[in-house]
């Protein structure tokens, strides 16, 4: 899904800045538009400003500068309870003194809905998260995953068009987490809700989202669909942050259109695709995904680079082999190869030749 033009933007951040203390900017010049129905994930390291953005959207924090628009109108001065945005909190924030049904009834009651209408909606919402039998329980009588589902049901029961979720799965174990990831995406797509989802976990971000916004240092580093993000990171932060990544440092020697030549620090010359290097002589980090590296020459296509490498470690992982190599003075160069019958199992200390396609090798900022 490509970025959309302003006219169909359902949610829009326009040059938004935020400072808590008046000295440092926590969010620096944020621009973001989302079409209706999109599932967008904000991904980034701790303290990068994800929650802050979410809180500004929900209305619990005010933007220091810039404008936030919902469905075309600025909501900067609209109080949270009038924004009609559903929200799932990291600790669920289910009201402990109310039963599950009362929790779900709360947003309907404040909207002055009739009793029978409330009951049908509550039932539907509970069935939606497969918690129909738990209406009479208190939140403390539920497991973490069950609480999570109730929190989700509560955020959806009043049928908001936009739902915000701040690390909703942070407290769950891996299996439940994966199950809930599936449930959430399913519901979001079935109900056609626009969703902003915050997480630390890149797998979660990649598997659930239509688009992922990678945050760092108060800025969006890259906003793209998961595959683009993984395969075509636009800068070295994104390349490092998403998935496993090998970097080789060097200086740009020559740029011509879609290829450039990089001289690595040990003097070797390789060609790469220039992404954000613009001039000759610039320092650069060349990034290659581990699974794009090969030793088997028969598998390497024409025009591949060949470099000498020493095997430092060989780990058998079942479906793949993970090999740590010393390449061009870098001791942490990782190669992942598929466990195939013709795949050689390398020995420690062995000297091999490895290679990759120049297109998989991206010259990024240093």
């Amino acid at each position: 899904m490509a970025a959309t033009s302003d006219s169909e933007a359902f949610v829009a951040f326009e040059r938004v800045q935020k400072s808590y203390d008046g000295e440092t900017l926590v969010v620096k010049d944020l621009n973001l538009t989302m079409p209706k129905g999109e599932f967008l994930t904000m991904l980034g390291p701790s303290g990068s400003g994800k929650t802050t953005c979410l809180m500004m959207l929900a209305g619990f924090e005010t933007a220091t500068y810039g404008e936030i628009k919902l469905d075309g109108t600025s909501i900067n001065n609209i109080p949270p309870h009038k924004r009609g945005i559903g929200m799932v909190f990291q600790n669920y924030a289910l009201f402990p003194h109310m039963t599950v049904a009362e929790n779900l009834s709360f947003p309907l009651e404040v909207r002055k809905m009739g009793k029978s209408e409330r009951e049908t909606k509550i039932k539907r919402a509970l069935d939606m998260v497969q918690m129909g039998d738990f209406a009479g329980r208190r939140p403390t009588q539920l497991s973490g995953g069950q609480q999570q589902r109730i929190a989700l049901a509560r955020a959806l029961v009043f049928e908001p068009e936009l739902v915000l979720m701040d690390e909703p799965l942070g407290a769950l174990d891996k299996q439940l987490r994966e199950h809930m990831q599936f449930e959430i995406t399913r519901l979001a797509h079935e109900l056609g809700i626009t969703t902003v989802y915050v997480t630390h976990d890149q797998t979660e971000a990649l598997t659930m989202s239509d688009r992922v916004a990678v945050f760092n240092d108060g800025r969006i580093q890259q906003l793209a669909a998961p595959d683009t993000l993984y395969e075509e990171p636009e800068n070295s932060f994104v390349a490092q942050f998403i998935g496993e990544n090998n970097t080789l440092e060097g200086v740009v020697k020559e740029i011509s259109g879609n290829t450039c030549t990089v001289q690595l620090d040990n003097g070797e010359l390789i060609s790469a695709r220039p992404v954000n290097v613009t001039e000759v002589g610039q320092r650069t980090q060349v990034s290659i995904r581990p699974e794009r590296v090969e030793t088997n020459k028969e598998r390497l296509q024409e025009g591949a680079h060949l470099l000498k490498a020493e095997v430092l470690e060989f780990v058998y992982m079942g479906d793949i082999f993970r090999t740590r190599l010393r390449v061009a003075g870098n001791d942490d160069f990782v190669m992942k190869t598929r466990n195939a019958p013709d795949q050689e199992r390398l020995k420690k200390g062995q000297m091999v030749e490895i290679g990759w396609l120049p297109d998989d090798c991206r010259a990024l900022d240093a």
């Binding site: 929900a58 209305g59 619990f60 109080p79 949270p80 309870h81 009038k82 009609g84 945005i85 559903g86 929200m87 909190f89 990291q90 600790n91 924030a93 009201f95 402990p96 003194h97 709360f106 947003p107 404040v110 909207r111 509560r154 955020a155 009043f158 915000l164």
Partner: protein
Amino acid sequence: MSDTTQNGPMLAADGTPLKRSLNRALRRQKLRALMLIAPLLIFVLVTFIAPIADMLFRSVENQIVSDTLPTATEVLEDWDHTTGTPPGEEVYEALYYDLYLAAEARAHTRLGTRLNYEYTGVSSLFRSTGRGLEDLGEEYQDILEDADDSWGEGAFWYELMTGTGDTDASLVREHRARLQALENARLTGDVGFAPSVEIMELLPQTTFAYTDFAVFTALMDEDVVAEEDPWEGVYAGLAQDLQTADLSGYDGPGAEALVAAQQTLAEQAEPINYTAFFESEDEDWLNPDIWATIQTYSSNYTGGYFLNAVDMQLTPDGIEMRPDGQRLYMVLFQRTLFMSLTITLSCILLGYPVAWLLANLPASKANLLMILVLLPFWTSLLVRTSAWKVMLQQQGVINDVLVWLGLVDDAARLVMINNQFGTIVAMTHILLPFMILPLYSVMQGIPPSYLRAAKSLGATNWTAFWRVYFPQSVPGIGAGSILVFILAIGYYITPEIVGGRTGTFISNRIAYHISSSLNWGLAAALGAILLAVVLLLYWAYDRIVGIDNVKLG
């Protein structure tokens, strides 16, 4: 190791049943734990449980009447108060000798004070009569001594009473017990006297009076009975006995003197009449109401103090309300409850926002506020209360400011102290921290995400507060209210200083009865009722809100 055969009990390594050896091991642990808390336990027992038990006992204890007038109350049992006539001669006779010993032991005024709680005027009746008791015996003593000097000699009397034949010590034991009850002390020591059986039969009243004299002389005055002249009351007893005694068969010591005395008395003295004597001392002794009161309160335990504490009284005709002018305590109880509730309510109203601020301000500001909250704790209670006096009095700071602002006329300054208003203001201020602290600790445990969640679900600020935040802070309100209310209901110093006439509590009345009127029984009953009210409210609270809902931290 352990035996686990199908049916037999599990056995420990040494063959004893596992359960028993486990119990033994646990018992040792428990004992050791008990030893650790023993100092506290003893402290609590001695300084807390025991005084409360003593207080509860005092509120019903009433042995003073039967201790002081043992014979009279016994004889009085047969009297029917509804006849409207005073009791017969035998009651006055018993009263005379009971009162005689009590007067010697100076216990009769105590009884007078006690009965005065129930019937006004009894106190002075007992006091004045106590002084005149000797007059009756003195009359006969003079006549006897004029006729024969030996009647004035202690040794002669001792010989007469001891006789030569068998003696019986049981009467001495009885009278020693009476004296012990009067003196409220254990009296040991040898009386050195036992009446002869013969004399006891011949002169019963004399023996009775003489034994009282002997016991008192030996145990209280610590003198030798044979060397002391008997009390005037003994002569009265002799006069009574000689009116009817048949001396013909008696040939023990003093036999001739007795015959002579019988003759002399018959010639020279009026026959003894106790009723007439008491009437001459004070006409009130013929008032059946007084006797009815004595009869009503002659049992060892009484609900009289409790009835008194709720403005009722135990009359010979049953329980009834006190006359209008004497009702005092129900009003005081109601006022105490009402004011304690008002104080608790004001504490909630004032303390809630402060606690909220404390829980929601950034740490540095919250600490400053916390110090302000705790500041009153570091100031003496008296200083704080007196400060309110300075603030609220008619020439005080607040009135001055109001007058200066022109809001109040100089001639009509507000009366804000020495009344309920002053007490409520001062006590609210003093008890406020007890509300704020539990509230604060509960509020601190409420994450801000609840309010945010409520608002994100569409609730206005007020709805979010009222439906989400407030219910979760209720345990804090409960804890604070219980603390403040229970502290308030028994508060003493502040109402004493700023309460004036209309702002005092029941505790002030209790203090008055403890230290001024010395009516400890009533004070104990009032205290017991107060305790019961607090327990009752606690129980009600537990039923309605649930005591596990109270959180102090």
